[in-house]
Amino acid sequence: MNLNKLLERQITKLLPDNFANRPEMALFLKTVSETYSTFDRDKDIAERAFRLSDLEFIEINSKLKNEIYLRKKSIDKLNETLGLIAGETKFLDSDDLFSVVEHVNLEITNRKSTQSLFNTLIANLKKGILMEDTSGKIIYVNQIFAEVFGIGKTPEELAGKEFKNLLKEIIKHFKEAPHIGTLRNKSRVGKEPVAVNKIELKDGRFLDGNIIPIYFEEEFRGYLWTFIDITESIRSQAALNEQKKLTEEILNNIPADIALFDNKHHYLYVNPSGIRDAERRAAIIGKTDFDYFRMRGMDDSKAVQRRGLFNQAVETKSTIEWLDPHEKADGDTTYMLRRFTPYFDGEVLKYVLGYGIDISDRINFENKLNKTIAEVQKINKELEQFAYVVSHDLQEPLRMVKSFIQLLDNKIGNSLDDTDNTYFNFVKDGAERMQRMIHDLLEYSRVSNVTEKVGEVDCFELVNSVVKIFRPEIDKIKADIRIENLPQIVGIKSKIHQLFQNLIGNAIKYRNPQNTIIEIGFTEEEQFYKFYVKDNGIGIDPKYFDKIFVIFQRLHNKSAYSGTGIGLAICKKIVELHGGIIWLESKLQKGTIFYFTISKAGF
């Protein structure tokens, strides 16, 4: 008979979990086992003890107790006798005598420790136990039993008392008292324990109870009553159930596919969003994506793809994300953004979480946006073409108008009266303006019509050559032009030239008449160069910041400042052509800074 096993069985049955798992317990088991092994004579009793119920356990324990008591007495007697012998006859060698005494003492010690171990065992049971004999007297009761029912007496005080009286006390605590007599009889007649589960107490606690009939050598000896407080486990179970329900609720209703796979890509779980059909959802557990797609009558291609991604996630120990398009029956495409996230316990892959959300709206929106952008670009291109054709074709009739005005002026100009002359001047002026506008429109439409090659542009050299164009005027107004050491950029030289020419031209045009300072500089950023053209001129009202880049948008009366309002529109197009943006800061009467960026990446 393996004593360890027997003990283990007892322990797991009776001890609190945390007690059973402790290393001290293993040591304890070993000790007990060894102790018993040494007592060959008691082996039978011990074996029986473990085979029998809790009660027998105790009974044997008390038998042992008794035996130990008797033995102790007999040893005392033996000592006494030996003493007498030693004193009177020297029949035995004193050394012999000593070893006999020692042996006996050792035996007693061993037995005592065994006994105390059993007592400890019972005392630490989380079950309250009480043993009643055939006459209804309490033979044994443990501390827990007294505590469960709030009995203010020690086990020692209770021992030997009538169980009937104690039972009356106990029943008062029950919300609904079970018929004790019936249960008791049932267990005795059936010769087996009767369980009374989940007895609710008035104070809200719950108990599990057992009535165990005690038979020893086929003879009825009494009952063993056990009660255990299960309130906490019921509560934690309820809380656990609540939490489980909530989690399930979430998983069932979340608009995302969620699946859990084992380390071999078998489904452990999938939520209803992942697989809508309940039958399929149940059938897939333990299976793979290969099974899943075959279930849906599809080929293996998607499963192969997913297996690859699964392995990738596992190998890289990181989340893998991919876009999974799926064409629906109605021809629309659903776009799922899916992820595999592996979970490791140290180096061991525990499971992989599959996650998927429908991002069709976003993708469709993006597609729509791209389509719109393409359309806008096409329309812009067409508009440019249109502007070019119109302005080109308009030149012909305009030339007629202009030329014949000149011809008329030549012929009859001298004979006109003042009113006629005023009218005639309007005609001339209108034609002049129209010519400029057509010219500018042509220029504007030509900005993105690039025939020149992209190349290195030395901005310092370029800006200096631009300033040369304005030199006569600069000298006349004594303007202070400050040029930083500008960088080399990649771009279209003639366009960059035009850009600086327009901006510097504007700065001169809208200058501060007293003291004109114009600064041209730049800062270098990671992706681009940021240039600026700064003046201390008349400034621009912030409410016009957006308008000024629009073609033919003028802020000033043409008599104050000439021009058609194309310069900045052209600047904007040139900057955009070079992958940049243009903007400004300005304060009225303080000055304006135009900033623009030129991408380093080219275009």
């Binding site: 030149q395 012909e396 305009l398 030339r399 007629m400 202009k402 030329s403 014949f404 000149q406 011809l407 010519q435």
Partner: protein, 144 residues
């Protein structure tokens, strides 16, 4: 002073008037024969060819955009004709497209001139043109 014979092939009435007006200011005696479409031009030039160069003009001013037969066709006809090919042909047009310029020179046009916006500039240019062709350069002469 010699009177120079000029053929103007131009369909736009306004341009015809402007050109004739401009010729008044070039300071040379010019007789301008106006032909207002490509077909008329081809007929007129065909007759000239048949007459073996009698009354051959000193200069042809040719517009490109002409009704019926366009200017380039007319130019091809002139330059393929053994009698007419020696007459200098100046293309005078509003088009400044590369295509038209290249087509003109590929077909042996002698000059290509874009009509300017300004009448006075036009007069000035026409003056220079006449001085060049009638004064500076030596032109082909029929054997006498």
């Amino acid at each position: 002073m010699k009177t120079f014979q000029i053929i103007l092939i131009e369909d736009n009435e306004g341009d015809v008037i402007l050109t004739l007006e401009a010729f008044k200011h070039v300071g040379m005696k010019c007789n301008v024969e106006v032909l207002t479409d490509g077909e008329l031009a081809l007929n007129y030039l065909g007759n000239l060819s048949n007459a073996r160069g009698e009354n051959k003009p000193d200069l042809i001013l040719l517009d490109i955009n002409l009704p019926r037969v366009n200017g380039i066709e007319v130019l091809k006809n002139i330059k393929n004709d053994i009698v007419l090919r020696s007459i200098p042909v100046v293309v005078l047009t509003t088009s400044n497209s590369h295509q038209d310029v290249n087509d003109a020179y590929s077909n042996h046009a002698n000059s290509y001139m874009v009509k300017p916006m300004d009448l006075f500039v036009f007069i000035e240019q026409l003056k220079v043109l006449c001085e060049y062709w009638f004064g500076i350069v030596k032109l082909h002469r029929a054997p006498s």
